[in-house]
């Protein structure tokens, strides 16, 4: 019979060894996004795609000679406060990498919390991979060494979009309609500034904000757009605010082009239906009918095993993020967040649609973007490139223009503090 104290010590030692062993095997990445509540479907989309990406990397043998990735979901209900609670759990579980995308308000809270944690806990740093929160501040005056953004920020998207719009002489009167919160404000401000610079002859005939997710009937807004005589509408609206707007426009016979960021977001093409065909344009880094698509096999493989509610492959930037993350770990020869961050900085990577660069000065990924329009199927009078539709909605994305990476690159005010 061993002494109780010895036995307890032995148990504890065994537990420590076991946990060390587990760490040596897998590199866990916490996925902090909504998995319940009204935005759950959006959160589940990212989770499903990231799990697929991780499976591919693991099947190829993982990183560092056999270490595997694991995505661990944490539900933040898109609340900044709840995200901080989840971050505590992440820290308690000794997970050193986090990824998040939905809502810039959450991203802001996480950046601050990660900065504070890393300052106080040297050697136990957390690294934050942002795949969709696009407030420009996080790669400008609020930039952080521990934050990397793989999505083009909202100013970059607007820069590419307005560059393309500038070449279309039929655009004369533009209406701005956005959701009344930080992102909507950023879209409207950038649109005004950039259009004034690139096409001073374009008249801004209206500029409205409406509350986020609270409008059921967009008919009054549509009547106003019509009365203003607009030929184009720029909107950062997403989700229901996007689909209801386009539907109301079609019902009233409003003949405008919609320039959007998120009309391709999950559920939106289905809700808009054919009302959108030929009218709705999107600025994003990927769609399934893109030319010379080196990710087409990946896209098709994803669709084969996709969960019921998330049929499409959407986040090419997610794929790029995982590939660059894996590459950074290999280069650093370690899964230590600080070493990985140093390897990621300035990294150039051959993406599926061209070279991308994680800019060293502000940790913003510089990548090519596309303006594309949702069309009817080729058989129903759409263009011949209309091959794969979005979530079975009968809306087929077809490219209008590819905008090379340098079109969107913006000067940064970031003064990076490196540890």
């Amino acid at each position: 019979m061993a002494h109780p104290v010895i036995r307890a010590t032995a148990c504890a030692a065994a537990a420590v060894l076991l946990s060390l062993g587990a760490h040596a095997q897998t590199i866990k990445v916490a996925y902090i996004d909504p998995l319940s509540g009204p935005f759950a479907q959006t959160g589940e989309q990212g989770l499903a795609e990231f799990r697929f990406a991780v499976d591919q990397i693991n099947k190829r043998g993982g990183v560092l000679g056999g270490r595997k990735f694991e995505v661990v979901p944490f539900d933040n209900k898109v609340s900044p406060q709840e995200s901080l609670n989840q971050l505590k759990r992440v820290i308690d579980q000794d997970i050193r990498f986090i990824t998040q995308g939905n809502s810039s308000a959450v991203a802001g809270a996480l950046i601050e919390a990660v900065n504070r944690h890393n300052e106080r806990n040297p050697g136990k740093e957390i690294l934050y991979l942002n795949y969709a929160a696009v407030d420009p501040a996080y790669t400008n005056d609020k930039c952080s060494f521990w934050h990397f953004r793989f999505d083009a920020n909202s100013d970059m998207k607007m820069a590419s979009l307005t560059t393309w719009m500038a070449g279309r002489k039929d655009i004369k009167k533009v209406y701005l309609l956005n959701q009344d919160y930080s992102f909507g404000h950023a879209v409207r401000k950038a649109a005004r500034e950039m259009l004034a610079r690139k096409r001073p002859d374009i008249e801004i005939v209206g500029d409205d904000l409406h509350p986020l997710g609270k409008v059921t009937d967009f008919a009054p807004y549509v009547a106003k757009i019509k009365a203003a005589g607009a030929d184009s509408v720029i909107t950062g609206n997403w989700g229901q605010d996007m689909s209801l707007l386009v539907k109301a426009g079609r019902d009233a016979g409003l003949d405008v082009d919609w320039y959007t960021y998120y009309a391709g977001g999950l559920g939106t093409p289905t809700a808009m239906g054919e009302a959108a065909a030929g009218k709705v344009k999107i600025i994003a880094e990927y769609h399934s009918n893109v030319e010379n698509n080196k990710a087409s096999k990946w896209d098709a493989d994803y669709r084969k095993q996709a969960p019921k509610g998330n049929p499409d492959f959407y986040f090419l930037r997610g794929k790029i993020m995982w590939e660059m993350f894996a590459k950074a770990i290999e280069q650093a020869k370690s899964a230590d967040p600080k070493a990985v961050a140093l390897a990621l900085e300035g990294m150039r990577h051959q993406g599926d649609l061209g070279e991308v660069e994680m800019r060293k000065s502000d940790h913003q990924l510089i990548q090519p973007l596309y303006v594309f329009t949702l069309h009817k199927a080729a058989a129903k009078g759409g263009p011949k490139e209309a091959k794969i539709d979005m979530e079975g909605s009968g809306l087929y994305p077809v490219t209008d223009a590819r905008l090379e990476a340098d079109t969107s690159a913006q000067a940064t005010s970031c003064q990076m503090q490196r540890p």
Binding site: A227, T270, G309
Partner: protein, 295 residues
């Protein structure tokens, strides 16, 4: 002028949809004293049932079948849930309907998923009804108004011209007497609750394809129908009608105004105005526009 006409029509048609939604709520409240938090969930169920039925046998049968199904669920809820909870008082009933709203939403998640479903306006109702200068007015909005007005007339006739309507009205104020006269008051309650749910279901059939059918639709309209019931006067059908039109037009016209007060334009504040109206009314006229009881 054109703009004004279009906006008036928009305001009235939105108001009438709100009335379809709130009439059931106010009926149930006036008869049973139950403030049904799950009312908007019945609206959602109506839309989903209509989606399912119209995918199989078409929109017109769905217009009849979906509200009946929702009504049947409403009756089951009353018979096996609410009636048991009733003896513990109004707070228990309130909590019961509150919980029910969550349950129904989760059930919808499980059955139809979290994304919007493809519930479309039928082809024969899709298109412009008439032209005002160069603005189109969609057929479907006209149809919405028609159904809503028909519903108002039907409820009014049923309440004032039929035997069951008279019993319902009597049970509203003198339930004991009605019971003593040999009427089955619990059954009347069950019918009214089911009827209220069916009205919400009908609004769902009409509103689900006009707007969007997704699990968030109940939460989107939930608060506004309470505002209508409070503004119109708890339990007053006429009040709910007036309040619906008032709020429909208020929101529509506020959007058109670009006047600004301290940096916030009226159009920006449009969706908040109904709540402002409710708060003011509760302060200055707590019984509502047409209500009969205080507070």
């Amino acid at each position: 002028m054109e703009f004004f006409l279009v906006q008036s029509l928009n305001g009235v048609s939105y108001g009438l949809l709100l009335f379809m939604l709130s009439s059931g709520l106010t009926l149930v409240f006036s008869l049973m004293g139950v403030l049904n938090f799950a009312h908007a969930s019945f609206y959602m169920l109506g839309a989903y049932f209509a989606y399912q039925v119209s995918a199989k046998i078409g929109f017109w049968p769905a217009l009849v079948i979906a509200p009946l199904l929702v009504g049947a669920i409403g009756m089951l809820v009353e018979r096996f849930g609410l009636r048991k909870v009733h003896r513990h008082g109004h707070v228990a009933e309130l909590l019961f309907t509150f919980g029910l709203a969550y349950l129904l939403e989760e059930a919808v998640h499980l059955i139809w998923g979290r994304a919007a479903v493809e519930y479309r306006v039928p082809a024969e109702l899709d298109g412009p009804l008439f032209q005002i200068m160069d603005s189109q007015y969609p057929i479907y909005r006209g149809f919405m108004m028609l159904v809503s007005v028909a519903m108002l007339v039907a409820i009014w006739l049923a309440l004032t011209r039929t035997r069951i309507g008279l019993v319902i009205q009597a049970a509203l104020t003198h339930p004991q007497t009605v019971e003593a006269l040999g009427h089955n008051v619990p059954r009347v309650f069950m019918l009214v609750f089911g009827g209220g749910a069916a009205l919400a279901g009908l609004a769902g059939v009409i509103g689900g394809n006009a707007f969007v059918t997704d699990p968030g639709m109940a939460a989107a309209v939930g608060p506004i129908i309470f505002v209508i019931v409070v503004v119109g006067g708890m339990g007053s059908l006429a009040g709910a009608f007036i309040a619906s039109l008032l709020i429909g037009c208020l929101q529509t016209f506020a959007v058109s105004l670009d006047w600004s007060l301290g940096g916030i334009s009226i159009s920006q504040a449009a969706p908040v105005l109904p709540y402002l109206l409710m708060v003011l009314l509760l302060i200055f006229r707590p019984k509502g526009l047409m209500g009969t009881r205080e507070g």
